[in-house]
Amino acid sequence: MIRYIARRLLMIIPVLIGVTFIVFSLTYISPGDPARMILPQDATDADIAHMRHLMGLDESFLMQYVHFLFGFKSPSEDSSFSYKGLLALDLGRSYVSNRPVFKTILERFPNTALLSLFALVLSVLLSIPAGIISATHQYSPSDMVVSVLSLLGLSMPAFWLGMILIWIFSVKLRIFPSLANPNNLKSLVLPVITLATMNTAVQARMTRSSMLEIIRQDYIRTARAKGLDEKKVIRKHALNNALIPVVTVIGLQVGQLLVGAVLTETVFSYPGIGTIMVDAIQRKDTPQILASVVFVAIVFALVNLVVDIVYAFIDPRIKAQYEGMTKGK
């Protein structure tokens, strides 16, 4: 098991290097000169060339990538142009706010994590019971309701749902604020619903279909044939097995939550990592874009790693399979 975890950990290193390289290349080719952002509009070409030199922008692509990973020492006396590199979680300062980019991210990430956590809990609490009821009462009205709602949930753009919720609950009924803030639990209600909807739908569908599959399997039939109470059969035999794929889906959903957060946070002006990213992109704040995309990719990769490991723990078959195999999935 430890070997498996170590192997899995080693595997994410090349992936992360690839990610950083792609993201760095993307920002490198993007138009717009960061030196001009810092300088006033009437700056001369000489001023700009000087500033580019101070910022290390006059060096080759590869050198800049090396700086990005391992740090950059600016020739300027002003130490704010220098940074220690991605490996030290220091990509310098935002061109806009002039603060260390990772500081901002680490300050705001807990907000996103909080929102995602609430959404995750809500979606699990709703989706698993709904999926089970739906499967055990196949073709009943409640199954229909769950199926239809989950299909709708799957098809609704999260940002639109958020705005509709704002319209109904903030503008019309004035029950919840339209502006979300981590210090005000009431204000989190709408964004959590918005963020949880898609996940709830996916998980409910997953629970339903894996339950259905297992209910039809032989050992469940045997259990039923033995005359066991139906509820017991579901609880004892079916559920445990059905939950394995559900756990995987939930794991994958954690990653999706981070993505959904970008849109949800924008709609509710929530101070999380999503709004950092959108702001940074709109303002061409390159260090901030780099840092936030790479940061989310790292979190995403780590979450997937944890899910894989948990998965291996839950399902002995997978574990055996992984340990026997030499190549990836």
Binding site: W160, V171, I281, I289, V293
Partner: protein, 314 residues
């Protein structure tokens, strides 16, 4: 594994004749038809496609991009004068007008064109590129496979909208870049699916037979292996279109997609956001349009999955 083997033989077998192909299709259609929701989904998609093709018959592009400032935010079912350049005519705003006084229904209909184009081209691109890479990886194995699969892992390591966001941010917001961004981010799913399918098919008898007969690798992949892996790809493509439309509207909503005054649903919503309290109809209808079309694709996707292979049902 077992499931996929049976599925491989379902739609068309590698050595099938036309007649067999036909009957396989009929068999598929018979099953698909049984799923009423899927058929409804198909009907909706067909309706949207027709709308997209014949958009100009309902409203001219000029009309729906032309400002009528005096009618800004007209409520649904308002009748008002519009200026078509030379004369003023009476016009019924069925779903109301937006911030520039443009007809919302007309913009939704023309927006269908944009969304359909995005959905089909990005997925066609991703499907071709992804399947080819997946097939190569699965068929040849070895170094090529690890390179392709590590590349896929890297693409998958950045959440898709985020990656599309980064691409558009770098290249600048435009229609082509949007297609490129969504196309690229849709590739990995196809690579993985294709590779998995190829792995299950590649050692089967008919492939061995073709190889024994001296067929070239390319021919074997294209003629014998790919057709047998189509079922999951078709399902993925259908769901992929839904995902692609959703991504495009999301990017446009963030201001990084299609640029105004092109009618695009995400764009319309992005504008509407500022008028939630003032003109909710500008928010409501484009969102409904997105929702119905994505719902329809999801229904078709479900239906296809059931029809192509009942056991594939997830």
């Amino acid at each position: 594994m077992e499931q996929q083997m049976t599925s491989a033989n379902l739609p068309v077998s590698g050595i099938s004749t036309d007649r067999k192909r036909k009957s396989a299709f009929q068999e598929f259609w018979r099953r698909f038809r049984k799923n009423k929701l899927a058929v409804a989904g198909l009907a909706v998609v067909v309706l949207y496609i027709l709308m997209a093709i014949f958009a100009d018959l309902f409203y001219s592009y000029d009309f729906i991009t032309q400002n009528q400032i005096s009618n800004a935010f007209a409520k649904p079912l308002t009748r008002a004068e519009v200026d078509d350049g030379n004369t003023t005519v009476q016009h019924l705003y069925i779903l109301g007008a937006d911030n520039f006084g443009r007809d919302i229904l007309g913009r939704i209909i023309h927006g269908a064109r944009v969304s359909m184009v995005i959905g089909f081209t990005t997925i066609a691109f991703a499907c071709i590129v992804g399947s080819a890479l997946g097939a190569i990886a699965g068929y040849y194995g070895g170094k090529i496979e690890s390179v392709i699969m590590r590349g896929t892992d890297i693409l998958l390591a950045i959440p898709n909208i985020l990656f599309a966001l980064a691409i558009v941010a770098a290249l600048g917001p435009s229609f082509q870049n949007l297609l490129l961004a969504i196309g690229i981010t849709s590739i990995p799913a196809f690579v993985r699916l294709m590779r998995a399918s190829v792995l299950t098919v590649k050692n089967q008898e008919f492939v061995e037979a073709a190889r024994a007969l001296g067929a070239r690798d390319f021919r074997i992949i294209v003629r014998h292996i790919m057709p047998n892996c189509m079922a999951p790809i078709i399902v993925q493509a259908t769901l992929g279109i839904a995902q692609s439309i959703l991504s495009a509207t999301s990017l446009s909503f963030l201001g990084l997609g299609i640029q105004p005054p092109s009618p695009e649903w995400g764009n319309m919503l992005s504008d509407a956001r500022s008028y939630i309290s003032y003109a909710p109809h500008t928010l409501l209808f484009p969102g409904l349009a997105i929702m119905t079309v994505i719902l329809a694709y999801n229904l078709i996707g479900d239906g296809l999955r059931d029809a192509l292979d009942p056991k594939l049902k997830r």
